[in-house]
């Protein structure tokens, strides 16, 4: 068994020893805390929504397209919107922890530090999915394109999982720096290229009515990306947040 796999298995076995409930409770507590704070302030979702709505509006006016071309550019416009709006959310989500010293509060808790990563990542995923759930119908109306296809929804879900996993990990690194707002996109987008490429290709495949055989390789790339980066975050988060 390779050493990295060994480490993951060892960590999972430790959980199974009896601390699994505490681990899951900590994840749930962090998700609850993020959602409760956000539904009170609406800072994060508000910023992401306004930005996303503006991007699709600008593209709508900038590109005067016939119906066939609209379908062809939809996947690109959608993923550009989600990727840039997502960085606003990721930055804000970690800044809340850093600004009032709350990250120390989380690190002081007697829980496995990976639970902090998963709690934050699941919270970020919720925010991203909420924004996507509002932006998709808006886009459908503005561009007269039907986006409510199960295959496309699956691609958006897989893409969002990978995006928030990598984004939360890199935001935890960037938040330590003075230039965190600039640093996160610079770190994030190069790492996201395989995921965004696969997401655009798979989304385009569903929108243009391609055969599943043509789309499946891109979906497999997204699944592999999600699994790899969740595993990487699971192993390295502890070292990233350590002083």
């Amino acid at each position: 068994m390779p050493p990295t796999t060994d480490l993951v298995v060892q960590k999972i076995e430790t959980r199974a020893d009896g601390s699994l409930r505490a681990y899951l409770r900590s994840i749930a507590a962090i998700v609850w805390k993020d959602l409760a704070a956000e539904f009170r302030s609406r800072e994060l979702i508000g910023a992401m929504l306004v930005f996303s709505a503006l991007v699709i509006l600008i593209f709508n006016f900038a590109l005067e397209l016939d119906i066939r071309t609209r379908e062809a550019v939809t996947s690109g416009v959608l993923w550009v919107t989600f990727a840039f709006a997502g960085t606003l959310g990721l930055n804000r989500s970690m800044a809340i922890e850093k600004d009032r010293g709350c990250l120390d509060g989380l690190l002081l808790a007697p829980v496995d530090r990976n639970a902090i990563f998963f709690g934050k990542a699941i919270g970020n995923l919720f925010f991203m999915l909420i924004v996507e759930a509002i932006i998709l119908p808006m886009y459908s109306v503005l561009y007269n394109v039907n986006l409510f296809q199960p295959g496309l929804i699956l691609v958006i879900l897989l893409g969002s999982i990978g995006y928030t996993a990598v984004g939360t990990l890199l935001a935890s690194m960037a938040v330590q720096a003075r230039t965190r707002d600039v640093l996160l996109p610079i770190l994030l987008f190069p790492v996201l290229i395989p995921l965004l490429l696969a997401a655009v290709k798979a989304s385009n495949g569903f929108l243009m009515g391609f055969e599943m055989a043509e789309i499946m390789p891109w979906i497999n790339v997204m699944i592999a990306y999600d699994v790899i980066f969740i595993a990487v975050a699971f192993m390295v988060f502890d070292f990233i947040v350590e002083e």
Binding site: A22, R25, S26, A28, A29, I30, W32, K33, A36, A37, E38, R40, S41, I96, R100, G101, C102, D104, G105, L106, L107, L108, A109, P110, V111, D112, E242, E243
Partner: protein, 232 residues
């Protein structure tokens, strides 16, 4: 309860702690004084498992750091000059969140107890961002004692408080100390440290340069000692 031997910590090439020795017995209240940059906060962060030492031995509640950090965290309550509280959650929600993180049993009852102790029960449903600095600091103490830790670390808890808020904080600190908990508090305020603590240690240039019982010296003598060992 806390035993530190030859502790060294550097940030890059810059040494902050240079072979520090320190010891605290169970139930003792120790105030750590020292000028800015002496290494007080760095030292407290190492005890709190938030920072790794470069060299030396750190044993807290019988557990070696950093190897047994998770076991130490369960026994520790930490208050720093930042409140470690979420402004968009109420006082009660903040305590509930930390209660879940620490796995506190009978959480509702414990939250009631803590809010009464820190005098914030009438404001329990108010958002923390609407609180004054003094109220936030009292809630920070509530957060730190929620899981009934036997060791408390306070990093300059009086920073930014007006006299009335500082006096209320002193009262809460005395009540906590009277329950037999071990307390280490960093401070710049010599007379307050002499009033609250059983012992005062002076940290200068990364080592403990003096350690005196507060029974042995009055605040004036302590100030003279502080000036002598820190060369102010």
């Amino acid at each position: 309860m806390i035993k530190v031997r030859r502790l060294v910590k550097t940030f890059g090439p810059k040494p902050v702690l240079r072979g520090l020795d320190f010891q605290v017995s169970k139930g003792e209240f120790v105030a750590l004084l020292g000028p800015n940059g002496a290494g007080k906060t760095t030292f407290l962060r190492i005890l709190a498992t938030l920072s790794r030492p470069k060299m030396g031995e750190v044993i807290v509640a019988g557990h070696q750091l950093p190897a047994e950090a998770a076991a130490v965290r369960r026994r520790l309550g930490v208050v720093s000059h930042q409140p470690l509280l979420y402004g968009d959650l109420s006082a009660e929600q903040n305590l509930r969140f930390y209660g879940w993180m620490y796995g506190v049993g009978e959480l509702d009852r414990r939250i009631d107890e803590v809010l009464h102790l820190i005098g914030l029960n009438p404001r329990r449903r108010d958002l923390v961002r609407q609180f004054s600095r003094g109220m936030q600091q009292r809630l920070a103490i509530g957060r730190a004692i929620l899981h009934r830790p036997d060791i408390l670390l306070f990093d300059e808890p009086h920073t930014g408080l007006d006299q009335e808020a500082a006096a209320m904080l002193d009262q809460v600190l005395r009540e906590i100390a009277s329950t037999g908990r071990t307390v280490v508090m960093t401070s710049h305020d010599i007379s307050r440290a002499a009033d609250l603590a059983d012992r005062v240690d002076i940290l200068s240039k990364g080592i403990i340069t003096a350690s005196e019982s507060t029974d042995a010296l009055d605040p004036i003598q302590l100030t003279e000692l502080y000036r002598a060992v820190t060369r102010v």
